[in-house]
């Protein structure tokens, strides 16, 4: 599969992170991160808890601010200019561990909210798009229910559809399956795989190694705020170089 | 000035008490009635030509001065004692004395008290925020006897406390005492003690510095008093206006001279006031006189010609 995936990688740079550093107060969370993601690449980020994985991808769409270095998304430099931030956020979709659907809105309203208010799409059109993506994640029939009436897996798929409705060029996932019961993990992963196959650029923090093997072009291992190792999945799993990676893999696969 | 404001508004804002039968209280239909009310209406009649063009603003002891100072009301006609500090320090002008009063004491007859000097150790109900409260303190201090004050907010509350026996004595202006006693089931069971411990000249007041308006109020009051002195009543005022021999009456009623114009009013101003409200004695008689439940005698408030203190400056 990794082969198939690689075929689609282009030369166009989607995200370029250079010498990026971030501190929480005096705590140095991210240290000299350098990362270039090409259009159509699928990258899986893994690493022990607290290693800064979430922080990294939250920096990419400016949910957190970084203090040093540069982040450029689709040619737009992430600066303090609100216009740039808005531009980047509307091109980058994000899925959270706890879905974060809006509980007071129906599924459909969840999906049309941002297109209507941010992209200024007419309501009708937004709803059509929403239905299209809800079909894609296989829950069009739930469109008029409220999030609280759905199972966790369904909610996460709605969250993905909600992001897709903004027609992002890049998707970020932060442990999308870790709050789900085992039965539901698969349905969400399937959705993500489908997305990957369509050539979406994806950055995904996950410990689902099966998923990583199947769709990732590259696996990145982080520890203590640094990128310790990155490689193609096959190589990464079968032949880890750094001792920290080896330790981590032995724990995670042994479990 | 205020005079122009009132004319433009077409309504007089007049501050009165929240309810003291005889002086100012709404009746069962919500109509304001009473001595102070009549003064307000007389001014309205003089200035606006309509005795009902008055907005009565109920005020308490606490709010009356702010209401006047801040312009919420144009004049205050609310059993308010003319004192030095109110005139000078609080910056108001008293337009004259409408009622000469004095502070007295009322006790139940069965206490057997005949003089205020015997009140040592008594519990005394007194309305807070009035000069009454200060006079009371002074009186007992001067006579070196003790008492315990029970402060009440309104006359009605004082009455309630006194009737229930929560205080032995009720003190307020003698007129108020009479009015209060009149409301009792058995007025005869209560006596008003002979001592009058203070002078309480009550009269309408206006803001300091607006002399034109002050003159209007002052001379409206004087017109009512003079009318009594000259025998002009609400009944005969029309007749007198059309033909009178007395030059002063003619000046008062505007058939001779330019007095109205000097005040900034028309010639009929005083005539209207008297026509609608009656002269001083009529006002007194209908609201607080001996025929009413309040039953006050003219006493000090008789004309100077009858041995009282009412003495209006001449209309000339």
């Amino acid at each position: 599969m990794a082969k198939a995936a690689q075929l689609k990688v282009s030369d166009e740079v989607a995200i370029s992170i250079q010498q990026m550093n971030k501190w929480y107060g005096t705590f140095h969370v991210l240290r000299d991160i350098d990362l270039t993601v090409y259009q159509g690449e699928r990258i899986v980020i893994c690493g022990p808890s607290g290693s800064g994985k979430s922080t990294l991808i939250r920096c990419i769409n400016a949910l957190e601010e970084h203090q040093k270095g540069s982040i450029e998304v689709d040619g737009t430099l992430l600066s303090s200019d609100l216009k740039n931030i808005d531009k980047i956020r509307s091109e980058v979709g994000m899925c959270f561990q706890h879905f974060n659907l809006f509980p007071h809105l129906t599924i459909l309203e969840n999906c049309t909210l941002a297109p209507i208010w941010v992209r200024k799409t007419p309501k009708k059109e937004a709803e059509e798009t929403a239905m299209h993506f809800l079909e894609k994640v296989k829950i069009p029939d739930q469109a008029n229910k409220y999030p609280g009436q759905l199972s966790g897996g369904q909610q996460q798929r709605v969250a993905i559809a909600r992001s897709l409705c903004m027609r992002p060029r890049i998707m970020l996932f932060d442990e999308p399956t870790s709050a789900l019961d085992p039965e539901m993990i698969k349905e969400v992963l399937d959705t993500m795989i489908e997305l990957a196959e369509e050539g979406m650029t994806m950055l995904c923090v996950t410990h689902e190694m099966g998923f990583a093997r199947q769709v990732a072009n590259r696996v990145i291992f982080m520890d203590e705020g640094q990128i310790v190792e990155q490689n193609e999945p096959e190589e990464f799993f079968n032949n880890p170089q750094s001792p920290r990676t080896q330790l981590f893999l032995s724990q995670i696969l042994g479990h | 000035g205020t005079l122009d404001d009132v004319k433009e508004r077409g309504k007089l804002n007049c501050g009165v008490t929240t309810g003291l039968v005889g002086f100012a209280a709404p009746d069962a239909n919500g109509e304001w009635k009473g001595f102070d009310v009549a003064v307000c209406r007389a001014v309205a009649a003089a200035v606006l030509g309509d005795a009902s063009a008055v907005e009565f603003v109920p005020t308490t002891g606490k709010t009356r001065f702010t209401a006047l100072a801040s312009g919420e009301i144009d004049m205050l006609s609310r059993v308010t004692t003319w004192t030095f500090s109110r005139d000078v320090d609080l910056k108001f002008d008293f337009a004259g004395v409408a009622y000469y009063d004095g502070q007295g004491f009322m006790v139940p007859k069965d206490l057997g008290v005949s003089s205020a000097k015997e009140l040592d150790g008594a519990t005394v109900c007194v309305q807070t925020g009035t000069t009454t409260e200060l006079n009371l303190a002074d009186f007992f201090r001067a006579n070196n006897i003790s008492y315990e004050p029970v402060p009440v907010e309104t006359n009605a509350e004082g009455q309630q406390q006194y009737v229930a026996g929560a205080c032995d004595v009720y003190t307020t202006d003698a007129s108020g005492l009479a009015a209060t006693r009149a409301a009792f089931e058995n007025p005869g069971d209560h006596v008003i003690l002979p001592e009058i411990i203070s002078k309480e000249p009550l009269g309408p007041l206006v803001r300091h510095g607006d002399n034109d308006w002050g003159d209007v109020v002052r001379w409206t009051l004087n017109a009512l008093i003079t009318a009594e002195e000259l025998g002009v009543t609400s009944a005969n005022v029309g007749e007198m206006a059309s033909g009178t021999q007395n030059p002063e009456v003619a000046r008062l009623l505007g058939t001779e001279g330019e007095l109205g114009a000097m005040l900034g009013l028309d010639a009929d101003w005083a005539k209207r006031a008297i026509e609608t409200q009656g002269n001083y004695s009529e006002i007194f008689a209908t609201n607080i006189g001996e025929e009413t439940p309040i039953g006050l005698a003219r006493g000090l408030n008789a004309q100077w010609t009858d041995g009282g203190l009412l003495y209006s400056p001449p209309f000339r």
């Binding site: 601010e65 970084h66 203090q67 040093k68 270095g69 540069s70 982040i71 430099l77 992430l78 600066s79 303090s80 200019d81 609100l82 216009k83 931030i85 | 002891g61 606490k62 001065f65 702010t66 100072a69 801040s70 109110r86 320090d89 609080l90 910056k91 139940p108 069965d110 206490l111 009140l119 040592d120 150790g121 008594a122 519990t123 807070t128 925020g129 009035t130 409260e133 200060l134 009371l136 303190a137 002074d138 007992f140 201090r141 008492y147 315990e148 004050p149 029970v150 402060p151 009440v152 907010e153 309630q160 406390q161 229930a164 026996g165 929560a166 205080c167 032995d168 803001r207 300091h208 510095g209």
Partner: protein, 412 residues
């Protein structure tokens, strides 16, 4: 944002004031500041113009002049010649007195009603529910008026005690409930130190002995704890403690020759003994019973917040119901109860300002009432009044925060 990634040499543009996160919040704050200042300036200039037109000024000199009025209940010495400032202090002390008494009483009412609301007894439970609902849902002002009317109208006046056909009589020949207040026998010392007219020293002595007893009982408790730690058996301290509380004070009072000054009907009023004025009682009782209803709900919620599992676990360990209450339920319930309890105390303090309805001389009645009326210094008086209440509230909430922080349950 301190991102260092802005294009180098980018020049400052005016639109960046709103569109750049670095400047945006400053811009907004400056705008807010300007708006605030112009509002303040507008109000101030109106005030200045109005005062000038009325020929008034703002001055606190009136605080030094004699007040001129008398107050019926004073905790410090006060005559009509004392200054307005002193009258204000009398008011402050009276406010604190009634607030303090009402806090205690309201707590007692509230705890009793709250615990009884959870009683197994259906009737009692319902009765307490009725109490809580009735008192919570009717304005405190109405309660004050009703209870004051009860005091003044329904209880006899001193006159009723007089004569042969007296319609009222004293309780046990020592206490009288009248509509001017409650008279009870007042203690004094026949053999007191420093003359017969009860010098303060005697009372200080009594207080000292009581404090001594308190300290000793604490020591006894500590000893009992130590014994329990060492041997496991807790000595019964009830009788020892009772003895420590009562024996020394009784001996002292005997030595000083304690006697009771029985109130007696003399002249217009009862004299002698201790008098608690009707206004104080009415306000005290009304505030207590009204706030007690709220406290009852807090207490109930606090006890219910301790899960049934806690009681069961304690019972399963063999603890008796009394101990379950004192060792397991109460310590946990208190954490839930105390914060709202303190804000109820705050409410009592603020509601005590309704004292003017019953003629009780609290700060609102003296400074904000009579002084304001007599001097006409409305602005000054109201400002001082608000400053006092604000200070009181801030102190109480500061205490509350300290308590809350110290009692927080430790969690992961």
């Amino acid at each position: 944002m301190t991102t260092l990634t802005d294009p180098p040499g980018s020049t400052f543009r005016l639109s960046m004031l709103l569109n750049d996160t670095r400047y945006r919040s400053t811009t907004l704050q400056v705008i807010a500041f300007i708006l605030l200042m112009s509002a303040i300036f507008y109000l101030y200039s109106n005030l200045a113009t109005n005062l000038r037109e009325a020929g008034l000024n703002i001055s606190f000199a009136f605080l030094g002049t004699p007040a001129g009025y008398d107050i019926n209940q004073t905790l410090i010495e006060y005559t009509s010649q004392s200054s307005n400032l002193r009258a204000a202090f009398v008011g402050i002390l009276n406010t604190l007195l009634v607030a303090f008494l009402a806090c205690i009483m309201a707590t007692i009412f509230g705890v009793i009603a709250g615990v009884l609301r959870l009683s197994k007894n259906w009737l009692v439970r319902k009765l307490m529910a009725v109490y809580v609902e009735i008192f919570r849902n009717i304005p405190v002002l109405i309660w004050i008026l009703i209870i004051y009317a009860l005091m003044t109208i329904a209880s006899p006046s001193p006159r009723a005690f007089r004569g042969d056909d007296a319609t009222a009589s004293m309780i046990l020949d020592g206490a009288a409930i009248t509509n001017r207040g409650v008279y009870v026998p007042g203690p004094f010392f026949t053999r007191g130190i420093g003359g017969e007219d009860g010098s303060v020293i005697n009372w200080l002595l009594v207080i000292a002995v009581l404090i001594g007893s308190f300290v000793v009982t604490r020591m006894v408790t500590a000893r009992a704890n130590a014994t329990q730690e060492a041997t496991g058996v807790r000595p019964n301290t009830l009788w020892t403690n009772l003895a420590i509380w009562f024996v020394p004070i009784i001996v002292l009072l005997f030595i000083l020759g304690l006697a009771w000054d029985i109130p007696e009907l003399k002249g217009f009023n009862f004299s002698g003994g201790l008098k608690v004025g009707a206004p104080l009682i009415a306000l005290w009782f009304a505030l207590s019973i009204y706030t007690g209803a709220f406290i009852a709900e807090n207490v109930r919620a606090g006890i219910q917040a301790v899960s049934k599992g806690q009681t069961e676990a304690a019972a399963a360990l063999g603890l008796r119901p009394g101990r379950v209450m004192s060792l397991v339920v109460l310590p946990q319930a208190l954490r839930v109860i105390v914060p709202p309890l303190i804000s109820q105390y705050l409410n009592i303090t603020k509601n005590s300002s309704l004292a003017i309805l019953v003629g009780y001389a609290d700060i609102t009645a003296t400074l904000g009432g009579i002084t304001l009326n007599q001097t006409g210094r409305a602005i000054e008086c109201v400002l001082l009044l608000m400053a006092f209440y604000l200070a009181a509230s801030l102190i109480i909430s500061a205490v509350m925060n300290v308590y809350n922080n110290s009692m927080k349950l430790k969690e992961r």
